[in-house]
Amino acid sequence: MKRTKNSVRLSMVARERIAGYLFVAPLMLGLLVLTLIPVIGSLLLSFTNWNFVAGMGAMKFAGFDNFVRLVHDSAFVKSLVNNLIFIITVPITMIIALVLAVLIDKHVYMKDAFKVIYFLPYISSIVAVAMVWQVLFHPSLGPVNKTLMSLGIDNPPKWLADIDFALPSLMMIQVWILLGYNIIIYIAGLQSIPKDLYEAAEIDGANAWVKFRSITLPCISPTTFFLLVTGIIGTFKIFDLIQVLTQGGPANSTTVIVYELYDTAFNQLKTGYASSMAMILFLICLLITGAQMLAQKKWVNY
């Protein structure tokens, strides 16, 4: 009697185990084939000199040559610098978003309508949105410059076509796209702050600024941290906007790592060299995540 009970239980455990593997199998297989193996592939290819069109036979081992070349590749260095400059959009977006989130959360009527309005650019297709900005920023005919000229500015910048203004223009569009997302996350953070903290501060006679500085800011520091880290990683992955609007130009002034990678791999067909760029990108994301893990304890006050 006891034995059969045991064997029934054992088979239950075994069955649940098999069921478990079957449930996670599709996702795990997909990730194995589409992420894990390709990343290892990127690593291996980054040490080769190869054009995939030429076939497997043309693959040459190159050691660290690709990485040495990257350091001297002015376009790639430029793309790295541009990516670093792009990071500025993250705190700018966050500060504006925090102010707007506080206002929407506590100080206005029709909260939901505001959330929707600011969220629209984020859900809209980047290609469509980029096309609109392209026309708005048209150097001679666009509404932006027409408005500026009517305000008495005779030589407004050429925006996306201007070597000095193309990158700032893209950064501005990026802030415009991501603001709503940051607002929504901040509002969620603000709503998780216990109300009695504010009540206690009011009894102590704290004004709005003191309450904001000593209650709101510390309490939402996990949200701030989250937005900062994901935001920075996000700027390193930026591609669509650049590809649609400037293709890295004028004169490489707006190129970014992923755009260089795309151009090298799929236009110039330098498979090995592009893979070394992919590895740099991976390394940067890894470093940011590592830094996040280290900094989290120090920065975030719960």
Partner: protein, 273 residues
């Protein structure tokens, strides 16, 4: 209810900032209704004097545009269905079933989340080239069918389901799949809806994968289509804007229906991509 003056003041201020913020959309819509001659008139005619909407949209919607639209609709729906199903299965396995190596596997999934998608792009292309999946819709659907963020999100929802429900399924003699399909999944329907809507939006807007993995024009999705359209009608801005409006329209409809779910889903843990 008393209306607070300061609240009314801030509402007006925010509305003004809000209008400025969505002005590009207003301009896009208004331009798509105009005749080309009026597009760059200054001061801007926000409400067109000469309506040309029907002609503009008719021109846009003749020819290839319908095909791109249809391609996008069915690719997006197929991807969303497969992706949600795959993620729900894995999420259920990771949260409600006990099996050896489960936690280790989940840590691996977490680690893979750190890999930027572009870091695996080149070998993905080579693999698809070898499997002859380049320039096919099947390949494109496959690329977007596996999502770590989806598995995370749905796992959170499944963890809110009490184990008693799962046990009761077992008592009734239901198999593991039936318990998942008929008991657990219906219980997290709002969560599934939230994720499905987000996935729909992300897939509809996907530009990078179609750009790299599709070559033939007749296979293009709407995002590539309006790009091509921009090249074709280069300087006819009223038509370009009519195209852009058409590309955004399904998103606006989905967002209008599922606005609450989208915003809740985004707030949930800050999901992105």
């Amino acid at each position: 209810m008393r209306i607070s003056i300061s609240k009314a003041f801030w509402t007006v201020i925010m509305a003004l900032i809000g209008i400025l913020f969505i002005l590009p959309f207003v301009w896009m819509l208004s331009t798509s209704f105009k005749s080309e001659a009026d597009v760059f008139k200054f001061p801007i005619e926000w409400i067109p004097k000469h309506w040309n909407a029907i002609e503009n949209f008719r021109t846009v919607w003749s020819g290839q545009f319908v095909r791109y639209y249809w391609n996008s609709i069915y690719i997006t729906i197929a991807t969303t269905v497969i992706n949600v199903f795959v993620c729900a299965l894995a999420a259920y396995g990771f949260s409600k079933l006990r099996f050896w190596g489960r936690d280790a596997m989940f840590v691996l999934v977490l680690a893979l989340y750190m890999v930027p998608p572009q870091a695996s792009l080149v070998p993905q292309f080579l693999l698809f080239n070898w499997m002859q999946l380049i320039d096919t819709h099947a390949g494109l659907i496959l690329l977007n069918s596996f999502s770590i963020i989806g598995a995370f999100m749905l796992k959170q929802f499944f963890m809110g389901v009490h184990d008693e429900y799962i046990e009761s399924g077992k008592m009734d003699g239901a198999g593991y799949f039936r318990t998942f399909w008929q008991i657990a999944l219906p219980l997290i329907r709002p969560g599934v809806a939230t994720y499905a809507i987000l996935r729909f939006i992300w897939t509809w807007n996907d530009y990078q994968y179609p750009l790299i993995f599709l070559k033939s024009k007749e296979l293009f999705t709407i995002q590539l289509g309006i790009r091509l359209f921009g090249d074709q009608y280069g300087d006819v801005y009223s038509l370009m804007m009519a195209g852009a409006v058409s590309a955004i329209l399904p998103l606006l409809i989905i967002f209008a229906i599922g606005q609450k779910q989208v915003i809740e889903g985004i707030s949930l843990g800050g999901v992105k991509g």
